[in-house]
């Protein structure tokens, strides 16, 4: 994993000093709140419903065990003992004092971390594949490129006050696990016919109130030109993106207004001036960064292990966990383990200080001291020996991080919603919890199979509801909270935006709505067909029909449609 050199240390140290002084000036009223707002946002500090929230950057989701321990420390010392993993592969703390925020940054700097550009109208944390470097389907490890983009985008002087936030995602595998199609810029690592590495460049994807799938503006960009090409895109956007209406300010609106072809033409024209200039990446630089992402000292191991095979046969719980939470590895004898931060009864993505410490220790013992954050709000130990999976499972189980539900119904992506977020129109965590409680039966979940249920508390779509196979969006109607349901959304290689099935529901109705959607699926599915396949084959009509066929109780009732909440 990337390690800071003296320059990274210096820049982060100077940032802490700069931010400390900004906070001092705010408290001394030398800065108005309006002036302070973009400064604190560019440092990940939000004013939430009850307190400040600090979002800490986890570049492309990679963490070392000391960094994870630092989160535990921050949770204990400055927060209420837990943190929240986000769809940006970041972690955020919800109960922060403004006065203490510079001290948190100073502590983060000791483990090569910061909160730079985790919010604000600037280039945000670049996200990537949580299985980078280990995935069996990987073409090229995207992390060195992600790191080069991190450095380039950090305090980029021209792009700190963009029309709107700007998100880049990069994927280097056959299967896109970074939701690249719904980012302002999505980069796919590809090889051309000559075997040279480059990027397919997508622009103008995004969710929010106008969900759009990104358009390819260049099929092949040689990797050396990544930064100059990004610069050209950002310059066109900075000058021409709308600033009159924040809801129309994202690059997707500009690309749509101009057409992808015209946008691409403008970018290419802009790029001509800087192409092959000094910002062109060099083989030396790629090698310098790539050396931090070389494989750890794997042992030479057989593909499987007799003990492991026996444990798998003897223990159904272990077998279930393997089936859902353990992923294929490109190195023989190893596997990637996903720690489910989606236990029923806990807000999705919430993790306690004790769990963080535990994960750090586990990573040290079993996975080369490294942890990743997924954009589905789970954690990954990427390099666990197959022979040690049983031991790891038992340990993880005791900490409540072994729920065998990865990719299943209760592996819900969920934003903090109205319980925390001041933007939210509705709560999202209680909806996730009510659904998780109703469908807590694992046999049922395994029978339903892969399904993505995503919940956002408002149109900003932090919970990625548009690309959920089932998407739930909290809306405000006459001052009360309602939930709009869409189906047919998907992330990955076949990204699609879900379609709204009809009028919205009350919170109490939601578990039954989900139950009805699932029952249509169960009745209509062909063998081996996933929920999303059935929706795509049949369209939304049969689902819509059944969900609205008879009234759904709005309160706590008994009987067939009894709500659990």
């Amino acid at each position: 994993m990337y390690r800071y050199d003296q320059y990274d240390h210096l820049i982060v140290k100077e940032r802490v000093a700069q931010y400390r002084d900004q906070v001092r000036r705010r408290l001394a009223d030398e800065l108005t709140e309006e002036e302070f707002l973009p400064l604190r946002l560019q440092n990940g500090l939000y004013m939430q419903r009850h307190a400040y929230m600090l979002r800490i950057a986890v570049p492309y989701g990679m963490l070392s065990s000391p960094q994870v321990r630092m989160f535990a420390h921050i949770a204990r010392k400055y927060d209420r003992g837990y943190g929240h993993l986000t769809t940006r592969q970041n972690i955020q703390f919800n109960w922060i004092n403004l006065e203490q925020s510079p001290d948190i940054l100073a502590e983060l700097a000791t483990v090569e971390m910061h909160a730079i550009q985790t919010s604000g109208n600037c280039i945000r944390n670049t996200t990537s594949d949580e299985l980078a470097g280990v995935a069996a389907d990987e073409i090229i490890d995207p992390r060195p490129y992600a790191e080069m983009i991190r450095e380039w985008s950090t305090f980029h002087p021209e792009f700190a006050f963009l029309p709107r936030k700007f998100k880049i995602a990069i994927s280097g595998a056959e299967q896109d696990r970074a939701a690249t199609a719904v980012h302002d810029i999505g980069l796919h690592v590809v090889k051309n016919a000559e075997g040279e590495v480059g990027f397919r460049v997508l622009v103008g994807g995004g969710m929010g109130r106008t969900p759009i799938i990104g358009s390819v503006i260049r099929e092949f960009l040689p990797w050396q030109h990544a930064l100059t090409y990004l610069e050209a895109i950002l310059r066109v956007y900075n000058q021409h993106g709308r600033r009159d209406n924040k809801y129309k300010a994202r690059i997707k609106i500009l690309v749509k207004a101009l057409s992808a072809e015209e946008f691409a033409r403008q970018v290419e024209a802009e790029w001509l001036d800087i192409k092959d200039g000094p910002a062109t990446l060099t083989v030396d630089e790629l090698q310098r960064i790539a050396q931090y992402f070389t494989p750890p000292p794997y042992e030479t191991l057989p593909a499987t292990d007799a003990g492991f095979e026996a444990q798998k046969t003897d223990n159904k719980g272990f077998a279930n966990w393997l089936k859902r939470n353990v992923k294929a590895h490109k190195v023989s004898g190893y596997a990637a383990v996903i720690l489910s931060v989606k236990k029923t009864g806990v807000p999705p993505g919430d993790i306690t200080a004790a769990q963080l410490d535990f994960v750090a220790d586990l990573a040290d013992q079993y996975s080369f001291g490294e942890v990743r954050v997924t954009h589905e709000q789970n954690l990954v130990l990427a390099d666990v020996k197959i022979s040690e999976l049983f031991t790891v499972w038992q340990a993880v189980k005791a900490q409540g991080l072994a729920t065998p539900n990865i990719g299943l119904l209760t592996d819900i992506i969920c934003c903090p919603g109205g319980d925390f977020c001041s933007l939210a129109n509705a709560k999202s965590i209680p909806i996730a919890q009510a659904i998780a409680e109703k469908f807590d039966n694992l046999d049922f979940q395994h029978d339903i199979g892969d399904i993505e249920l995503n919940i956002s508390g408002c149109i900003n779509a932090c919970g990625h509801h548009h690309v959920g196979n089932i998407g739930i969006l909290g809306v405000d109607k006459d001052g009360s909270e309602w939930y709009q349901v869409s189906i047919g959304g998907a992330q990955g290689n076949n990204t699609s935006i879900g379609k709204i099935i009809g009028p919205s529901f009350s919170a109490q109705q939601m578990p039954v709505v989900i139950e009805r959607l699932l029952s249509v699926y169960v009745q209509q599915r062909t063998e081996e067909e996933l929920f999303i396949d059935t929706v795509q084959r049949l369209g939304i009509a049969p689902f819509k029909e059944f969900v609205y066929a008879s009234p759904i109780p709005t309160g706590y009732t008994h009987g067939e449609d009894a709500c659990v909440y």
Partner: protein
């Protein structure tokens, strides 16, 4: 006569005797009267009154944030000063205008940020090519001066730094003491 005020220029607080002409409601670019002395006129006024203004020894123009640097390209040599207006400090278009004036068009004269110019943006502004800053009048200009030195290193290129960090220095991970 315009009142002399202080600005930051080339990293120092100095007195300044330029005045900025802004059009009021009802003014039109071709009829507004440009006062004597050193005046920074809106680019639209320059375009409309070019023939008369060319007679003047020292004239500056300012570009609005929605302008493109290219509009000034044929007359660059005639301006003693080009200013870029920041109607709000959160409007970042002026950074690209400045970058393009300096880098693409090769403008070498004074490039001044005017409008909602605040301390915490100065570091970025100087990086894209501004060398003068008319800091908003209600702010302490000596305090704002400190904003120019927030960072001593930068990763990426811009007008001030033609070589990215990775080409400038030998980089290697170090443990922090």
């Amino acid at each position: 006569m315009p009142v002399s005020t202080n600005i930051i220029k080339n990293r120092e607080v100095v007195a300044d005797d330029w005045s900025v002409l802004r059009l009021n409601e009802g003014d039109s670019a071709d009829s507004v009267s440009v006062p004597a002395g050193r005046v920074i006129v809106p680019f639209s006024v320059w375009s409309a009154q070019r023939a008369q203004l060319l007679e003047r020894a020292e004239i500056g123009v300012w570009l609005a944030s929605d302008a493109q640097a290219d509009v000034a390209k044929d007359d660059l040599a005639r301006f003693s000063l080009i200013a870029v207006d920041f109607p709000k400090f959160t409007d970042g278009r002026g950074y690209s205008i400045a970058y393009n004036l300096r880098t693409r068009l090769g403008y070498n004269g004074e490039l001044r940020a005017i409008g909602d110019v605040l301390r915490d943006q100065l570091f970025y502004m100087q990086r894209v090519g501004f060398n003068a800053f008319a800091v908003r009048a209600d702010k302490d200009i000596n305090d704002a001066l400190k904003g120019l030195t927030d960072f001593s290193e930068k990763y990426q290129t811009s007008w001030d730094e033609k070589t990215p960090l990775f080409r400038r220095v030998q980089r290697q991970a170090v443990s922090q003491d």
